[in-house]
């Protein structure tokens, strides 16, 4: 039978009747017809017309039921159809009531060796998790199910199949972490460890120049997961969750690799580096001893949020110990600050003053070096800045630490 194509012009009675027909075929005894019917529905689900989604509602309980079936192609099509219909809020509410979350969970569990199906489950779940009120109902349901542990187990890409399933599952975990602030469930299941060690191996691949197509589609959600998971991970757990300081090396590699091709990804890497260094002295120390700081300083000219985030990282390092400050000064941070203090971006200027303060009070040698580099006249000029906060800082630094 010829199914309707994606362009439905005249809905209404025709629609109701034809959907009735379609569902009949979907649930009929002829397997070939079932496959054709689900193909039709899949096509329909692509339609941009607003009423198509709700028109497909009668099929939804069947689509869900079939998720526990064994036919790969059929299951895939059901999943993608459901995934396409999810964003419609009426459909979403129905699907939730009809048990889409448990259905997805058991599908993933039973079919986890079938990577094509896994990819499809991941896609559908990611659509579901993007709902605006996901945090209220959907996410708690998902976290309570077996989905998180299975998602995590799929994260490592299969070299033969490709990146697809890992990509979908990574995005799911991203939607889980960014919508909530409490990540205990995910942390308990080793999400941070898994995501960060994967980033380490991906960082290595990128640094070697092995760029598989689509790698950044996997790197992006992983970065976000690590970044957001860190924001709630207690420091005492950090060593268990991270363990490996190579993560900072990987992030620096990603920063350099994507700086020119995808600055947004570089910016996200810098954000993760900020969250890593905010409270961990060990990781700050690693950046210094592994000689990664000069590379970071070289990024300070680049705008659109990259330099402010990098400066925060350097500030995090400086905040730790006087010893770190001296090391930072030796690696050229002082002269870099003499330039960043003149930038138009007020956030950069304020942060620069904060870092300068930490460096200058750390040791008299650093203060001397700053004066040698013409710092006094720079600060004197800054005393005429239009921003009160900046003027205050310049004056304070001059009066209490440089001229006294």
């Amino acid at each position: 039978m010829a199914g309707p194509n994606g362009h439905i012009v005249n809905l209404g009675l025709w629609q109701e009747n034809s959907m009735h027909l379609l569902v009949g075929l979907l649930t009929g005894s002829d397997a070939t017809c079932r496959l054709q019917a689900v193909r039709c529905l899949h096509e329909l689900s692509h339609s941009p017309h607003t009423s198509v989604a709700s028109a497909c509602l009668p099929a939804s309980p069947y689509l869900l039921t079939y998720l526990s079936g064994q036919s790969t192609k059929f299951t895939e099509l059901c999943l993608y159809t459901l995934g396409n219909l999810c964003p419609d809020s009426v459909v979403k509410e129905k699907l939730l009531a009809q048990g889409i979350v448990p259905a997805l969970a058991s599908c993933l569990e039973n079919q986890r060796h079938n990577l094509a199906v896994v990819e499809a489950v991941g896609f559908t779940l990611s659509q579901l998790l993007q709902a605006n009120n996901a945090a209220e109902k959907i996410i708690p349901m998902v976290l309570a199910s077996s989905l998180p542990s299975h998602l995590l187990s799929v994260l490592t890409p299969d070299p033969k199949f490709g990146l697809g399933p890992a990509i979908e599952c990574a995005w799911c975990i991203h939607y889980l972490t960014c919508s909530m602030k409490d990540h205990r469930v995910l942390l308990a299941q080793g999400a941070l460890l898994q995501c960060s060690s994967l980033l380490v191996s991906l960082g290595g691949a990128v640094a070697e120049g092995n760029k598989e197509e689509g790698m950044e589609l996997l790197i992006c959600p992983l970065l976000r997961c690590v970044g957001n998971l860190l924001s709630s991970c207690p420091l005492t757990d950090l060593s268990a969750q991270m363990g490996d300081v190579r993560i900072v090396v990987a992030l620096c590699a990603l920063l350099q690799a994507f700086l020119h091709t995808q600055p947004a990804l570089a910016r996200e890497s810098a954000w993760v580096l900020n969250n890593l260094t905010a409270h961990s002295r060990a990781l700050c120390s690693a950046l210094l001893t592994l000689n990664l700081v000069p590379g970071l300083i070289q990024l300070l000219p680049f705008s659109q949020g990259i330099n402010t985030m990098i400066l925060r990282v350097l500030a995090n390092i400086a905040h730790n110990k006087k010893d770190f400050c001296v090391q930072l000064a030796h690696r050229g941070l002082l002269s870099a600050l003499c330039a960043t203090l003149k930038m138009a971006d007020q956030e950069m200027v304020t942060l620069s003053m904060d870092v300068l303060f930490m460096l200058v009070v750390s040791s008299p040698q650093v203060a001397e070096e700053f004066v040698k580099q013409g710092g006094l006249s720079l600060l004197e000029a800054t005393q005429y800045n239009s921003e009160g906060e900046i003027r205050q800082r310049a004056t304070h630094l001059l009066e209490h630490h440089l001229l006294s």
Binding site: S280, G305, N307, N320, M343, D354, I390
Partner: protein, 310 residues
């Protein structure tokens, strides 16, 4: 191999697998500020503390990545996109209050600052090329004692440093500069509004371009004429190298080139560093028109065309 050092660090895992135990052993989460002696200091405005930043789904930082994800789902994803986002470099801005000039390189900024904001006369707001010339200017223009003394003795110094000679009038000095120091005869001694001669000094030839530009601005904007008029009424002709009021000029340059940027700079609020949940408000615009929606808050959402491998 793109980054051999980093590759080595990443692959020689056994050398570096050092856990973060150091943090636990020392047992501190937040070390008190190292400047302990100054903690109780009065009015210390520096308040940086490391912050954990959580970004929610719709944060602007995520926008580009979300676009890529969307294009991938629509089978439009190309790993090397033609429309490459360009990396941009921070601008420099003159921070002197009232001056809103913006520069794309540090050198331009330094040049601007050194030309216009250094050695400024407080009385008439003229900017002089050097401290010495500023001193001479103040002396000769704004010092009444000088005026009195110069009637009795030679007070007008030769402008060439190290010469040391003094003259009874500025005219004599001018003659001396031309005859002895070989200053060009068309050297700008007079500050008339029509005069567009080059104002070279042997000491700082590179300042020429700025001064000429400034002159042009003066001419075109007409404000300079007011000052020049005032000048021509001076009893003494001014022959030292001067540029007119720095702030006015800066304002004019800003007016012609960067009024909008100035407004933007002023409008953009300084960073909010209070909450850890969303302290970042990057002020850059993206390529996506505002009427395009990627499923955040919309009914339609992504319509993934997952038909690629079928």
């Amino acid at each position: 191999m793109l980054q051999p050092d980093l590759v080595r660090l990443l692959t020689e895992g056994h050398v570096l697998v050092k856990s973060c135990d150091e943090d636990c052993l020392t047992g501190n989460t937040q070390e008190p500020r190292q400047s302990e002696g100054e903690e109780g200091e009065e009015g210390n405005p520096f308040n940086f503390t490391p912050q954990l930043i959580h970004l929610n789904k719709d944060h602007q930082l995520f926008e580009d990545g979300d676009i890529h994800r969307h294009m991938y789902l629509q089978d439009l994803y190309i790993s090397e996109a033609e429309d490459k986002p360009t990396l941009s470099v921070s601008e420099f801005a003159c921070h002197i209050s009232g001056c809103s000039a913006i520069f794309s390189t540090l050198e331009e900024y330094e040049h601007h600052y050194n030309s216009l904001h250094r050695h400024v006369c407080c009385s008439c707001r003229r900017s002089l090329p050097s401290a010495r010339l500023l001193d001479i200017h103040i002396q000769e223009w704004h010092d009444s004692l000088f005026t009195i003394l110069s009637q009795r003795q030679d007070m007008y110094q030769c402008l060439v440093e190290g010469c040391g000679q003094k003259f009874s009038t500025s005219k004599h000095r001018k003659g001396h500069l031309i005859k002895i120091h070989k200053y060009p005869p068309d050297f700008r001694f007079d500050k008339t509004k029509k005069d567009k001669g080059n104002r070279q000094t042997k000491k700082q030839p590179q300042k020429d371009t700025t001064m000429d530009v400034v002159d042009d601005v003066c001419e075109s904007e007409g404000v300079c004429e007011v000052m020049c008029d005032g000048l021509s009424h001076q009893p003494e002709q001014e022959e030292s190298m001067e540029t007119h009021g720095s702030e006015e000029e800066a304002a004019r340059m800003a007016k012609s080139a960067s009024t909008e940027e100035h407004a933007d700079l002023n409008a953009a609020a300084p960073s909010t560093e209070s909450s850890s949940s969303d302290p970042l408000e990057p002020r850059y615009s993206y390529r996506v028109p505002t009427n395009v929606c990627f499923g955040r808050g919309s009914v339609r959402g992504f319509r993934g065309r997952r038909g690629r491998r079928k």
